[in-house]
């Protein structure tokens, strides 16, 4: 055991670091999906495309400003706003028209997925494009150097997660959201503008995904097909954590992120994804409501 640790210790440490970064980003994406499911009771299949839009918009910002730092800061502000507006638009003109019927919504958001993906393909092209990180800074460990930017990504994701947590628990908007989540009819009777709450939750979910896209793109480049994988991973996270539970989402993101990191470093990424998807099946079989769910699913 000790010789194994001596040989593989640095590798395990690297896997844990990478896993933690993945976990934070994943938590950010999945939180958006989870909020939308929790409050609106719908599954947004186009969620991964909103993440992709964040990454692609970040490339455009980088291309326009021609400066990594300014491009990054512009994208950080503008991408969530633009994607949030797209989300509000889709809420108003698609989801409201089908009165948020769960299965119709899935079909409609599959349609939305194709529309966003193909429009991106038309304007952005099929290439995989790199975006420079806003700064270069390496943290030197005894065995290897590690990108400081990756740690910044983890830190900023943590900040956003706490922000959403505070918003939900402390603000009036959060109170309205929780009221709508618990019982929309009663919330309406008490004067909660549920229609507006729906729109803002959908925009918030999309904005979080776009933010994650902006943060991730210097690590893993932008292309129009990058949305599918985070979508599936956040499905996994949201199911394991319990649909609609914030705490569950974050815990599950760490379970998936870190185990994904470890399995990918020591074995193969494909195997990691296979095991993660199977894990979901097992969780659903044993505990249909997820780890922290209210057993509503």
């Amino acid at each position: 055991m000790s010789t194994w640790l001596n040989d593989n210790g640095p590798l395990l440490f690297l896997a844990l670091l990478d896993g933690t970064v993945t976990a934070f980003v994943l938590a950010l994406i999945a939180l958006g999906l989870s909020l939308v499911f929790g409050v609106m009771r719908i599954v947004n299949v186009a969620h991964g495309e909103l993440f992709m839009l964040g990454a692609v918009l970040s490339w455009f910002a980088f291309d326009l400003t021609n400066d990594p730092l300014w491009g990054f800061l512009t994208a950080l502000v503008l991408a969530p706003v633009i994607v949030g507006s797209i989300a509000i638009f889709s809420d108003r003109f698609i989801l409201r028209k089908i009165s948020y019927h769960p299965e119709s919504t899935i079909v409609a958001t599959i349609g939305l997925l194709y529309v966003i993906q193909q429009l991106t393909l038309m304007f952005f092209g099929p290439e995989v494009r790199p975006v420079e990180a806003p700064f270069y800074f390496r943290i030197q460990f005894p065995w290897f150097g590690y990108s400081g930017y990756k740690l910044l990504v983890a830190g900023m994701s943590a900040l956003c997660l706490s922000g959403v947590w505070l918003l939900m628990k402390r603000s009036k908007l959060g109170l309205y959201m929780r009221a709508t989540q618990q019982d929309i009819e009663i919330a309406k009777t008490f004067g909660v503008p549920t229609q507006k709450i729906y729109a803002s939750v959908f925009a918030l979910g999309g904005g979080l995904a776009a933010l994650a896209g902006v943060l991730v793109v210097p690590i893993r480049q932008a292309d129009h097909l990058m949305g599918l994988e985070p979508l599936l991973l956040s499905f996994i996270v949201v199911i394991i954590g319990g649909l609609g539970s914030i705490r569950g989402t974050i815990v599950a993101a760490f379970i998936i992120g870190i185990s994904d990191g470890i399995i990918s470093v020591f074995y193969e990424p494909t195997l990691a994804k296979m095991l993660a998807t199977l894990l979901v099946a097992m969780v659903l079989v044993l505990k249909p409501g997820g780890l922290y769910g209210e057993d509503q699913a």
Binding site: F37, V43, I94, K97, I98, P102, E103, S104, I106, V107, A108, I110, G111, L112, L113, Y114, V115, Q117, Q118, L119, L121, M122, L228, L232, F235, I236, I239, L243, E268, T270, L271, K273, M274, T277, L278, V280, A281, L284, V285, P288, A297
Partner: protein, 320 residues
């Protein structure tokens, strides 16, 4: 009433099948091959519709069944040197087994969770085809043309890739699927399935074991899809991972919704229209998926019953 419905629908479907049979003599080569393809894909959609339209379970993982049929047939012929007929029988039993195991797990959930679970299982299956690429040939897929050989009907030798063989085998598959579904749906079992779609808890209250009926529908739907996949592999001599991708699970959903979920003949219309629409658009732009997306959104907003669903509501009340 039910007898009447049976007669009417057999007449109606018989007419359409007859039309398809006669079409092969007048269609130009290009459309001849398109229609064969449509009939195969429509068979897949009919299998899909059996679950969605009559039991109300929406799946996003049917590519798993389609490709499990296709791969078990192809790999069976490649490694076990099965004859094509035995290959199809093998694939039918394999996809039956896959859908049975899958159903025992997935049917513990319902509604949105069911959708996500089917999506996950489908993706696991796709990834495992890629992971075991030494056995399945991974992304590249493989061609069966060398291993199929020919067969003899009435003293004449035919290849599986012969256009006439392709057309008539596809038609045969479509015919048997249409007949089987119509008979099941008009039988008491079919009534119970529809009752489950309309109100699951009430059906349970009446003393039916809802789980077994749902499992039956899922296994039948999965096996139908698997055999359709096997026939597709056989007649086009190609086995590949594109048939296991998520996109291939969404397609039958689209065809079924467009044609009318819960109508036996609907998926055929939906598949045909969508096939030619995409065919037409691909000539103008490569981004035909954009149109697929727009059609999906518009349909679900303004046209949720689909073509045959609307026809049934307006004119043909007896349509199964």
């Amino acid at each position: 009433m039910r007898k009447n419905s049976l007669n009417h629908s057999l007449l109606f479907q018989g007419g359409i099948l007859m039309l398809l049979f006669l079409l092969q003599f007048i269609l130009p080569t290009y459309h001849h091959s398109s229609v064969s393809k449509i009939m195969l894909l429509a068979s897949y959609a009919i299998g899909y519709n059996f679950l969605l339209g009559y039991t109300g379970l929406m799946s996003l993982g049917h590519a798993m069944f389609f490709s499990s049929g296709m791969y078990s047939m192809g790999l069976g012929i490649y490694y076990l040197e099965l004859s094509p007929l035995n290959g199809v029988i093998f694939s039918a039993s394999f996809s039956l087994m896959v859908s049975l195991i899958f159903g025992l797990f997935a049917l513990r959930t319902s509604g949105v969770s069911f959708l996500i679970v089917t999506l996950m299982f489908g993706q696991t299956f796709y990834l495992s085809i890629l992971y075991f690429n030494e056995f399945t040939f991974g992304h590249d897929g493989f061609s069966l043309a060398k291993y199929l050989g020919s067969f003899v009907i009435f003293g004449k030798e035919y290849l599986f890739s012969n256009p006439d063989i392709r057309y008539n085998f596809a038609l045969l598959l479509l015919t048997s699927y249409l007949l089987i579904t119509t008979f099941i749906l008009l039988s008491p079992v079919g009534r119970i399935l529809i009752a489950i779609r309309e109100n699951e808890s009430r059906t349970q209250l009446l003393g039916y074991n809802v789980f077994y009926y749902k499992l039956f529908a899922l296994v039948l739907s999965g096996t139908f899809s698997g055999v359709a996949g096997a026939m597709h592999g056989l007649l086009f001599s190609y086995i590949g991972t594109t048939f296991a991708e998520i996109h291939h699970s969404i397609s039958p959903l689209l065809w079924t919704l467009l044609g009318g979920a819960g109508t036996v003949i609907g998926p055929l219309f939906g598949t045909g229209i969508m096939y030619y629409l995409i065919d037409f658009i691909s000539e103008i732009t490569k981004n035909y998926l954009l149109v697929v997306g727009i059609v999906l959104i518009l349909m679900i907003i303004w046209f949720p019953l689909g073509i045959m669903g609307s026809v049934r509501r307006k004119w043909l009340k007896w349509l199964p």
